[in-house]
C-alpha cells in the first residue's frame, strides 16, 4: 500500500466523513418522502430479519448459558447463587443482547450490503439505475436502512429471550437451581430503564450497520478486489462503531434513568 502524506490522509478522511454524512442524511430524508420501494423493504426485512434468526438464536442462547456458568462461580463466594437469574437477565437485556446482535448482524449484513452494492457499482449497475431514472439511494440504501433498524429491534428481543432461556436451562439442569426462582428473579430485577436502554441500542446499531455497509458498497472501486476490500472495511468499521455507540448510549441512559 502506498504511503500517503498526513495532509492527503486527513483530506481523505474528511471527504469520507462528508460523503458518509450525505449518504446517511439523504437516506433518512428518503424514508420520509415518496416514492417508497416497499417491495425492496420487505425483501431486506426477510434477508436481515428472518435470515439472521438462526445465528441470533444460537448466539443469544449460548451466551446466556455461558453467562450463568461463569457468574455462578463468582456468586458462590458471596453466597448469592440465587441471584444468577438476575445477573443473566440484566446482562443480556442491557448489554450482551443488543451488542452481540449488533455485531452478528454487522458481520452478516453489513458485509452482505457492501458486497452486493459493491458488485453493482463495479459492474455499472448503479450507473445503469441512474441512467434509467432511479435514484440508487432511494432504491437501494433507504430500504436497507429501514429494514435493518426495524428488524434489529426485534432480533435483539429474540436474543434476550433465548439468552435468558439458556441461562435458565444451565441454572436448572447443571447448577441445580430452582427454575421458578430463576425466572422470577430475572423478571423482578428488570426495571423500565433497563428495557428502554436495551431496546434503544439496536436502533442506533441498525442505523450504523445499514449506512456503513451501504456507504462502503456505494464507493467501491477497483473490480472484484475492491469489492472484497469494501466488504472487510464495512464489517470492521460497523463493528467498532456499534461498540462505541453502545458506550455512548449506555452513558446517556445512565444519565436519564440513573442506573
Amino acid at each position: 500500500m502506498a504511503l500517503l502524506s498526513p495532509e492527503v490522509w486527513i483530506k481523505q478522511q474528511i471527504l469520507a466523513i462528508q460523503e458518509y454524512s450525505i449518504l446517511a442524511g439523504t437516506a433518512i430524508a428518503d424514508i420520509f418522502t415518496r416514492p417508497h420501494y416497499w417491495a425492496d423493504v420487505y425483501t431486506q426485512m426477510d434477508s436481515i430479519g428472518v435470515g439472521s434468526m438462526p445465528i441470533i438464536v444460537l448466539t443469544g442462547f449460548f451466551t446466556g448459558c455461558v453467562l450463568a456458568l461463569q457468574s455462578v462461580t463468582a456468586l458462590q463466594e458471596f453466597g448469592a447463587v440465587s441471584m444468577t437469574g438476575s445477573l443473566v437477565s440484566l446482562s443480556m437485556v442491557k448489554e450482551l443482547g443488543p451488542v452481540l446482535t449488533g455485531l452478528m448482524v454487522s458481520g452478516r449484513n453489513a458485509a452482505g450490503m457492501a458486497s452486493e452494492l459493491g458488485s453493482m457499482k463495479v459492474t455499472e449497475q448503479i450507473d445503469a439505475m441512474r441512467a434509467l431514472g432511479t435514484d440508487p439511494l432511494r432504491k437501494l440504501v433507504a430500504p436497507r436502512l429501514m429494514a435493518t433498524v426495524f428488524m434489529l429491534f426485534f432480533l435483539t428481543i429474540v436474543a434476550d429471550a433465548f439468552g435468558i432461556t439458556g441461562g435458565a436451562l444451565v441454572s436448572v439442569y447443571l447448577l441445580g437451581l430452582n427454575g421458578s426462582t430463576y425466572l422470577h428473579d430475572s423478571y423482578r430485577s428488570l426495571a423500565y430503564g433497563d428495557i428502554v436502554q436495551g431496546l434503544t441500542k439496536p436502533l442506533f446499531s441498525g442505523f450504523i450497520i445499514a449506512t456503513v455497509g451501504c456507504y462502503f458498497g456505494m464507493k467501491t472501486t477497483g473490480g472484484t478486489q475492491g469489492v472484497g476490500r469494501a466488504t472487510t472495511q464495512a464489517v470492521v468499521v460497523s463493528s467498532v462503531f456499534v461498540i462505541i455507540v453502545d458506550l455512548l448510549v449506555t452513558r446517556a441512559m445512565i444519565g436519564i434513568f440513573g442506573s
Binding site: 458488485s119 453493482m120 459492474t123 455499472e124 449497475q125 450507473d127 445503469a128 439505475m129 441512474r130 441512467a131 434509467l132 431514472g133 432511479t134 435514484d135
Partner: protein, 282 residues
C-alpha cells in the same frame, strides 16, 4: 430481423430549429491529477449518429457519462435537448434521462432481475400496467431477436445476448437520444456484426440521435457504409450515391489524449492528411 420497433413511451422532445440534441462546449474533466478530457467542443444534430473513436483510455466512455449527467465536468457547458445539464439538480436529471437510452460497456443488466424485468425496468418505475409493459417488452425483445430469452436471468445469457437485452432496455421507451458505450467490446466478430446491425436498424428505422463509442474501426465503418433496408428487413450496402454511398447522418469524432483530433464525415476522415489519424486508421 423483425421490423417492429418498440412504440415510444415518453413524448418526444420538440427542439427549435438549429438547436442540437447534444452540445459540448469547452468541457474538461480531471480524475485525481490526470486530465481526461480537455476543452472538448462538438455538437450532434437530431437524427445524427456520432461515432466516437480513439485509443483505449482517451476518455470516450467518460464523455458518454458526461452526456448523460452520470458525471459532472470540472468546467465547460453540456446541453442536452437544449438544456444545460451541468447545473441541473439530480431530480431534474432523472426526468431528462427518461428521454435518453444508454447501453453500457458490460451491459450492466441487473443480476437479480430476469430479462423481462430488466427490459421493463423503466416501465415499472413509471407504474405502467403489467399487461402493457409485457407487450412492450415482447416488442423490444423481438426487435433484438431475443424474445425466447424473456424468462432467463442475465447469468444464463451469453455476452452477445446480454448486450442485445441491454439494447432492448435502452430503446423500450423510444428515447430521443441513445448512448452506446462500446456495444461490441469483448464480443466475437459475428456477434459484433449482429449488434452493429441492431444499432444500424435503430438508426435507419427510428432515426434516433445517437452517440456510439467504439475502438473497433470495422464496426464504425460498417455503420457508416451500410444501411438497414426496412422493406427487405436486412442490412445492405446502399446504391452508389453522394460520398460513395456512405451514410450522411453518421459522423465521426476522434479523441486522443483528452482532445478532439477529428470531427467530420466518413469521407473527410478517410481522406484526412493528419499523420496520427492515418496511422490510427491503417
Amino acid at each position: 430481423m423483425s421490423e417492429a420497433n418498440p412504440s415510444p413511451g415518453v413524448a418526444t422532445i420538440e427542439l427549435p430549429e438549429g438547436v442540437p440534441v447534444v452540445e459540448f462546449k469547452d468541457v474538461s474533466i480531471t480524475f485525481d491529477v490526470k486530465p481526461v478530457l480537455k476543452d472538448i467542443s462538438f455538437s450532434v444534430e437530431r437524427g445524427q449518429t456520432l461515432i466516437l473513436l480513439g485509443p483505449a483510455g482517451c476518455g470516450k466512455s467518460v464523455l458518454l457519462k458526461l452526456a448523460n449527467g452520470l458525471l459532472g465536468p470540472d468546467s465547460g457547458s453540456i446541453k442536452i435537448f437544449g438544456q444545460e445539464i451541468t447545473t441541473m439538480r439530480e431530480a431534474d436529471l432523472y426526468k431528462l434521462r427518461a428521454h435518453i437510452g444508454m447501453v453500457f460497456h458490460e451491459s450492466a443488466l441487473f443480476d437479480s432481475l430476469d430479462v423481462e424485468d430488466n427490459v421493463a425496468y423503466r416501465l415499472h418505475e413509471e407504474h405502467m400496467p403489467e399487461d402493457e409493459a409485457h407487450t412492450r417488452v415482447v416488442e423490444a425483445l423481438k426487435f433484438v431477436e431475443l424474445e425466447q430469452a424473456i424468462d432467463k436471468f442475465p447469468s444464463e445469457l451469453s455476452g452477445g445476448m446480454r448486450r442485445r437485452v441491454s439494447i432492448a432496455r435502452a430503446i423500450i421507451s423510444g428515447p430521443d437520444l441513445i448512448l452506446y458505450d462500446s456495444p461490441t467490446g469483448g464480443l466475437d466478430p459475428i456477434t459484433s456484426t449482429t449488434i452493429i446491425e441492431l444499432v444500424m436498424k435503430q438508426r435507419d428505422v427510428s432515426h434516433t440521435t445517437s452517440l456510439l463509442v467504439t475502438h473497433r474501426l470495422q464496426d464504425a465503418f460498417t455503420l457508416a457504409t451500410h444501411r438497414y433496408d426496412a422493406e427487405k428487413g436486412m442490412v445492405a450496402l446502399p446504391a452508389d450515391g453522394p460520398n460513395h454511398g456512405t451514410d450522411e447522418s453518421t459522423k465521426f469524432l476522434m479523441l486522443n489524449e483528452g482532445g478532439v483530433v477529428f470531427h467530420g464525415t466518413t469521407e473527410e476522415l478517410v481522406h484526412s492528411s493528419d499523420p496520427w489519424i492515418k496511422e490510427y486508421l491503417s
